[in-house]
Amino acid sequence: MTEPLLSVRNLRVEFPTRRGILTAIDDVSFDIMPGEVLGVVGESGAGKSLTGAAIIGLLEPPGRIAGGEILLKGQRIDNLDAEAMRKIRGKRIGMVFQDPLTSLNPLYTVAQQLIETIRTHADISEAEARTRAVALLDRVGIPAAARRIDDYPHHFSGGMRQRVVIALALCAEPELVIADEPTTALDVSVQSQIIDLIKEICAERGAAVMLITHDMGVIAETADRVAVLYAGRLAEIGPVREVITAAEHPYTAGLMGSIPTLTQDNARLVQIPGAMPRLNAIPQGCAFNPRCERAFDRCFKDRPDPIDRGDGRKVACWLYDAAVAAGKEKVNV
């Protein structure tokens, strides 16, 4: 059994506010294997981006990691000092943000930004760094890379800019790339190109990808495994094929039902009634119980931990706890 590249164990992220402590990520655990693509999916506010920020150590104060561990190749990285964490960023973990327009400093050329990043992590000459930069730019699909590398970010179109961002995130050869909604800000026609690029280029380099998105369609096409987050908690995790075709957690099932497909017979799309609770109003027991058709008495009292279903599949739902499910009383919501 191979060692996981990244291991998140019982992660807890809190935000102290004037009105009390908000728990944005509550006891979330998952692993990412070397070279695999893990999709992290959920609604806005479910905690996906925060998980990515916590992993790379860029949580904005007052948010902080209040519990759990994050291990990169077996070593803890959540408790490193600032300088040690800085060395990891870029070199071992890279990140791609959502909006390519604001991700690049408008006052520097692409060449300057690439070369600076490369030389931060590798002790090579400027000329050598430039050669690498041009090659990388070419690889991400920028035509006439040698010439365009000296352009400023505003000279590129949206899709091209995101390619530059990908190049920047990968230029120090990280082992894990966290892509936080990398295509949300792009034109639809360009989205699939960028997703494919991320997948290919990471596969080439053997880098794993944590693909954060709210778009299940992207996950279906690109990811190997998927983790579903709800209200800061892990609802379900497993191989993509299985989770999509045979979702076990009622929330995941609801999500699948709400995706339009060409083969679906339904006259209407299934919609999950209600809305995800706000962080300061999470119900007792399972966070999904107000909206769940299959909720029963236990669901309202205790919070379910992820239950191992075999083959790397886990579901956080009382329905799959044999002992509990046997004696359940259905409660109509």
Binding site: G94, L104, T120, H155
Partner: protein, 327 residues
């Protein structure tokens, strides 16, 4: 780019013409030039003759044209009060003001940027809070009060620095400078601080606000996500992006320094154009007022022009033509 420059220059000329008009109106209609120039004994016939001689009965436009013609050559007539050519008076006192303005401007900029960056990076330290409080007081204190209090502490009580005048100056061609003598430099200290303090607090608050904004941007987050060092992030990226608006606003401040010099020069009896102007207001010495107005307008217009060009050089997004020729 050439088109841009030409357009800006034309705009500047237009502004100057408007100011010239105001100046001229001042010159011509405020007070009676004849009364100011001749004694009480002059007869009405004499005054009429003088009127005719000075062209005061000509149509407005031709008088205006003459005014402009003379102004361009630097001829603003004779000061009512001092009976000397106005241009001569102004030129002889200009080096004093310019030197003061430049030194205090540099001081204000250096300390303003320094403090601004520090209080942005170390938002909650005691030193930051102290600096911010002092800056608030600096904004509330009138310039003249700062000057007077400085004189009291450093010239009267401690006797470290002189309390008025420029000290010994050295002539370099048509310029006189106080920078080359010890007493000249000593005399420069208090006035420069007085003049620069207000500007410094403005710059400091501006730099701090801008830098805090920049530090929240995505590209700074991305730079950190790439593992760039704190120094590279703060000074290579954040500072450079902060400076773009700061430089332009500071440049515009330079003009107002020259105007604020009026107060400082009065407090320290500094022999500059500001003191000249104040006296001209007191005694309604219109030629000097008009000339000072034109001079200040010229300075502002030139500074605005330079700042616009500087913006163009510093911010690549403004170089539209290059982008238009790409894809």
């Amino acid at each position: 780019m050439l088109a841009y420059i030409i357009r800006r220059i034309l705009q500047s000329v237009l502004v100057m013409l408007v100011v010239a008009l105001v100046s001229f109106a001042l010159f011509r209609f405020v007070g009676d030039p004849i009364n100011s120039m001749v004694g009480q004994e002059a007869t009405i016939a004499d005054r009429e003759a003088l009127r005719e001689q000075l062209g005061l009965n000509d149509p407005f436009l031709s008088q205006f044209a003459t005014f402009i013609g003379r102004a361009v050559q630097g001829d603003f007539g004779i000061s009512y009060r001092l009976q000397q050519p106005v241009m001569e008076l102004i030129l002889s006192r200009l080096p004093a003001t310019l030197e003061l303005a430049l030194v205090s401007g540099l001081l204000a900029f250096a300390f303003g940027v320094g403090f601004g960056v520090y209080t942005a990076l170390k938002r909650n330290g005691w030193l930051s809070n102290t600096i911010m409080t002092v800056s608030l007081i600096g904004v509330s204190l009138p310039t003249f009060l700062i000057g007077v209090l400085l004189i009291w502490v450093f010239a009267v009580e401690l006797q470290w620095l002189p309390s008025f005048g420029r000290g010994d100056t050295v002539e370099l061609g048509s310029w006189t400078t106080g920078l080359l003598t010890a007493s000249g430099r000593a005399s420069l200290v208090l006035p420069a601080i007085t003049l620069g303090l207000y500007q410094m607090t403005l710059i400091m608050r501006l730099v701090r606000a801008e830098m805090l904004e920049v530090l929240r941007t995505d590209y700074i987050k991305f730079a950190r996500a790439r593992g760039l060092s704190n120094r590279a992030v703060h000074f290579g990226h954040a500072l450079k992006n902060t400076m773009v608006p700061v430089i332009t606003i500071t440049g515009l401040q330079l003009g107002s320094i020259i105007a604020f010099a009026i107060i400082t020069e009065t407090v320290f009896q500094w022999p500059g154009v500001g003191a000249l102007f104040i006296n001209s207001v007191r005694f309604v010495d219109v030629p000097v007022m008009a000339a000072y107005l034109m001079l200040i307008a010229l300075v502002f217009v030139i500074i605005n022009l330079i700042v616009d060009l500087l913006y163009y050089v510093v911010d690549p997004r403004l170089r539209v033509d290059r982008a238009a020729t790409r894809h």
